[in-house]
């Protein structure tokens, strides 16, 4: 049978084990071909080939529902459910997203891109079925890495109380994005070492039924296990050991590198495009490592994504106890950082913008109310950052600038970032959050203040009149470009670097009233709840001063084009300068 003949799971249900096995081989080949050319989540999907086939072989699509947590491992599921060509035909590679997506197929029940939610969401399907008297089977597939997030615990805790069929497949490849961290993983190891027979069993502690599959890349083992639980009338955990990167030696050997990668040579596994330019992660890690040598209480913290802040395995080794990976557990990361800070240590937690929102309560309660002088660095918090709908970097200003007590800084370049980082780590008064600029690292040929103690002081970089351009972080450069364009039109604009997103510089804003009648704000995030609106409110009753805010529309977009979205939101220097000329007429 050819792969392209598989239009739906029904097409594989009549096959024998040998044919299924061949299909798996073909699928792996196609996957590898696509991934080597296109990039993507390599390791997780190679490891899931047999399990995805076995699940669809045993369970009945479309009646039964499979929920993938975090869903970056759903490529083979997509291949089997009507989207094969997106993996076999290079012209169609981009017709599917990298996560489950109900807009693509009814086989995808949810859009999921953040970890640890799958058991909870699937539990909701179970509950709905029970209330409605349905008979469909519900399956959740959750990785061992995802188990480190508290919501996965909450999901299991509640799942144990639900009635009726509910199959929770734990896909244990003994790996998160990097290696796993946390006591739980000792238990998973114990279970693997004892073929699932150890009496000390995390899952059974919830009262959950439990099965163990040692060879999770062996079709027959999987099919047998799933057949056995298919018609159970109660929740069950099926603990399946798979191999991350299975079938591609370089991915089996370098699991962290191949968790997600760009295009690579299909024979050697060499990356095709190696960008040696340091990014803000490298800059951060190098800077922190220097600090660590001078102060043993400096601690770098990650929530399962050490690569984001530049902590490669070598740098992690160098940092030793001064580096802490808490697992994919942002709540823990912020609370731990708050505790370390209150205990006199110097914590830095580096986190992707889209993931920091998983710890809003901890930012507010543990860090801000307690005035814990921890430092949080937000990476990819930008329209120039990640563009999957589940990973947008647009919401952090609205989220964090409105929490009292937090000093929220927006550096405009590498040098200003390091100055702010130094200050944040040195001071003992304030919870500090730094929103790194988006896009490639930019350098400023100047020095910056080393002291940000006097809060909410904007820096006037160019002094003009009529119009003041306040460009925050990433978009300070845009403000400068706008000023250049306006200069050509005979308008000398004032340009301000606000530096602080958490408060207004009322002195500066007041002084603008003298000789300006338009203030323009440009920020790297949604307009609603953002920082520009605070300035609009400030001048709200001033009939002499106009305020025009630039930023993004409040909207979820998936895999957007970065240039397009800037234009759509009138964020190019040309558009803004044109608008200003109109307004000043």
């Amino acid at each position: 049978m050819k792969l392209t003949e598989i239009k739906s799971p029904a097409d594989i249900k009549t096959l024998g084990i040998n044919e299924l096995s061949e299909i798996c081989g073909e699928i792996r080949k196609s996957l590898l071909m696509k991934l080597s050319r296109h990039g993507g989540h390599v390791g997780p999907n190679l490891g899931m080939v047999e399990m995805s086939v076995a699940l669809h072989y045993v369970f009945d699509y479309p009646q039964d529902k499979i929920v993938y947590d975090v869903s970056h491992q759903s490529y083979v599921h997509k291949m089997l459910t009507g989207r094969m060509k997106a993996f076999t035909d290079p012209a169609e590679y981009d017709t599917v997203t990298g996560f489950t997506n109900p807009a693509e197929s009814p086989a995808d029940i949810f859009t999921i891109g953040h970890t640890s939610t799958g058991v909870s969401l699937a539990g909701g399907l179970v509950k709905a079925r029970n209330l409605k008297g349905g008979t469909e089977r519900i399956v959740a597939v959750v990785g061992d890495g995802s188990l480190s997030g508290g919501e996965a615990f909450e999901g299991l805790n509640v799942a144990a109380t639900l009635s009726g069929n509910f199959v929770i497949v734990v896909n244990d490849n003994d790996m998160s994005i990097a290696e796993n961290h946390g006591g739980l993983y000792e238990n998973l190891k114990l279970l693997r070492d004892t073929d699932g027979n150890a009496p000390l069993n995390y899952f059974k502690a919830f009262g959950l039924d439990y099965r163990y599959v040692a060879y999770g890349n062996d079709l027959k083992s999987l099919i047998d296990a799933f057949e056995e639980v298919k018609n159970l009338d109660h929740p069950v955990v099926v603990h399946v050991c798979t191999q991350k990167g299975k079938g591609f030696a370089p991915a089996e050997a370098n699991k962290e590198v191949f968790h997600f990668s760009g295009p690579f040579d299909i024979h050697s596994g060499q990356m095709l495009y190696v960008d040696e330019t340091p990014d803000y992660g490298d800059i951060t890690a190098e800077h922190l490592l220097k600090m660590m040598k001078e102060d043993p209480s400096v601690l770098a913290i990650t929530a399962g994504t050490p690569g984001v802040i530049g902590f490669t395995p070598e740098r992690r080794h160098e940092a030793g106890k001064q580096f802490e990976d808490v697992g994919i557990a942002e709540q823990e990361a912020v609370a731990l950082a708050s505790g370390v800070a209150r205990g006199g240590g110097k914590p830095f937690f580096g986190v992707v913008s889209s993931f920091v929102q998983r710890a809003y309560d901890q930012l507010s309660q543990d860090m801000a109310i307690n005035g814990a002088p921890a430092v949080i660095g937000i990476f990819y918090g930008s329209v120039l950052g990640m563009n999957d709908v589940t990973h947008l970097g647009w919401f952090d200003i609205a989220l964090i600038s409105n929490i009292p007590n937090i000093v929220f800084l927006a550096p405009t370049c590498r040098q200003e970032y390091l100055a702010m980082l130094d200050w944040g780590m040195r001071q003992n008064e304030h919870p500090v959050v730094i929103k790194l600029p988006g896009g490639a690292v930019t350098d400023c040929d100047r020095t910056f203040e080393t002291d940000y103690d006097a809060l909410n002081r904007y820096e006037t970089v160019r002094k003009g009149s009529k119009v003041a351009l306040i460009g925050a972080g990433t978009f300070f450069k845009t403000a400068m470009d706008v000023a250049d364009l306006l200069k050509d039109a005979g308008i000398e604009a004032t340009v301000i670097n606000p530096r602080y997103l958490s408060g207004l510089d009322c002195d500066t804003l007041e002084s603008l009233k003298k000789d300006h009648n338009l203030v323009v704000t440009i920020e790297d995030g949604i307009l609603d709840g953002g920082w520009g609106e605070k300035i609009a409110r400030y001048y709200g009753t001033d009939t002499e001063m106009m305020v025009k805010c630039y930023g993004l529309e409040k909207k979820f977009l998936d895999r957007y084009d970065r240039k397009r979205i800037l234009l759509d939101n009138h964020l190019s220097a040309a558009q803004i300068s044109q608008d200003i000329k109109e307004l000043l007429k």
Copy 2:
């Protein structure tokens, strides 16, 4: 020894067991006296008398540090650490807050008011100590109810990897605020039933060392257990069984009622002030129960606080499977609701404003991105709500109005609330959040629309000119009062009920330009990131229209006076009308 002679834990360290026992009796008597007159967390603190004494007897204050999760059980700790008079002298009852508070005493390391954070925060102290080479002991005290929150799992998972002394006391009174829910509690029961000897042990699954204390209200058992672990060089869980409400028969018998209560008769336990007026919880529960009878797929969800949404034990019984308590696990509640909605059920999750922020990521990812038509009701989201710094109800507008796809509604009275609730539960398109009005239930003598499908349509309730007052939710009444005051000054104001907090009614706003030059917004929340600022931005470049926003300053306040804060923020009708008269001059 008299209680008032105890100025610090040092004063009890030389006593024998009999004297300590007498002290416990005295403490319990004083506690009961204060609680019966003043109200507070009755059950949790009565249960903690012996444990608090034993902890301070064994551990060395101020060097060693004790962190209480959720800290509403820290009254006896406060008595022993320099704040005895706040519990023995009625004139001083209000000199301490109901939670640990570093501003009161260095014995309180953190301000904690949300559950499940204690192990994480204490873990931070452990990590800081280890980095700095300190020798202090760190103790975390966490209740069984708090264990249902995912962050408690994250804390235990990381704690297991920390080195050095770390004593995690699990205070197991077999009770959350109401009864516990979740598979984990079967394991706690198993451990209690086997004197801690069952091989299946949730805590040991993390690799944590474990001790069991069957009689957690027996001083000697506690002291022996704490002495045994005091100098361990690794983390240990001490699982202690206490009795909620210990020593006061009515509290022992009615654990849910006495979790937190107002003043009561010290002999009978009868509440002194019984308010029979229905609150929004009662109204919600009655309404949902009616819906449940008509539609078996209607589900009411709580995260450990059934009383908030009026689900008394009787009503829970009546709802049966249509009521789900997921434990103190707001992430799970939102994800479960999203799953139920996607599965065709009709979920309503009712939650306290300050706790909904624990599920921001789930609101955004699971509910909003997925367009799951679940309904969330936010209670006490008001300046007229809870006034502990950890329980402020001011942040929900800034939090939720800026998430795309969510329809965020603000009813002004009971009738409008029920109309919105009906619509939310009936429709299948939108994630809906309803922010209930603050304060006592108000009634409107009119009918309301039953269809809110046409999003973001404001209702113009009074048509005037010059000034338009847009009063949201709680403060619609204030807007009406302002209009009355202005009428006396000859100004006929327009009054608008915006109804939607998640989007602007541009038609209405545009039409105001014709004959108004001032728009006033009044909202029940902080101004920063709120809804008024969106309107200020809307009119930003309109030189003919002034916008004045009323709301709260972005600030944490503890136990504020509700009248005072309204005046401080210029939120009285008299102040606003005065301001308007000035602005219109």
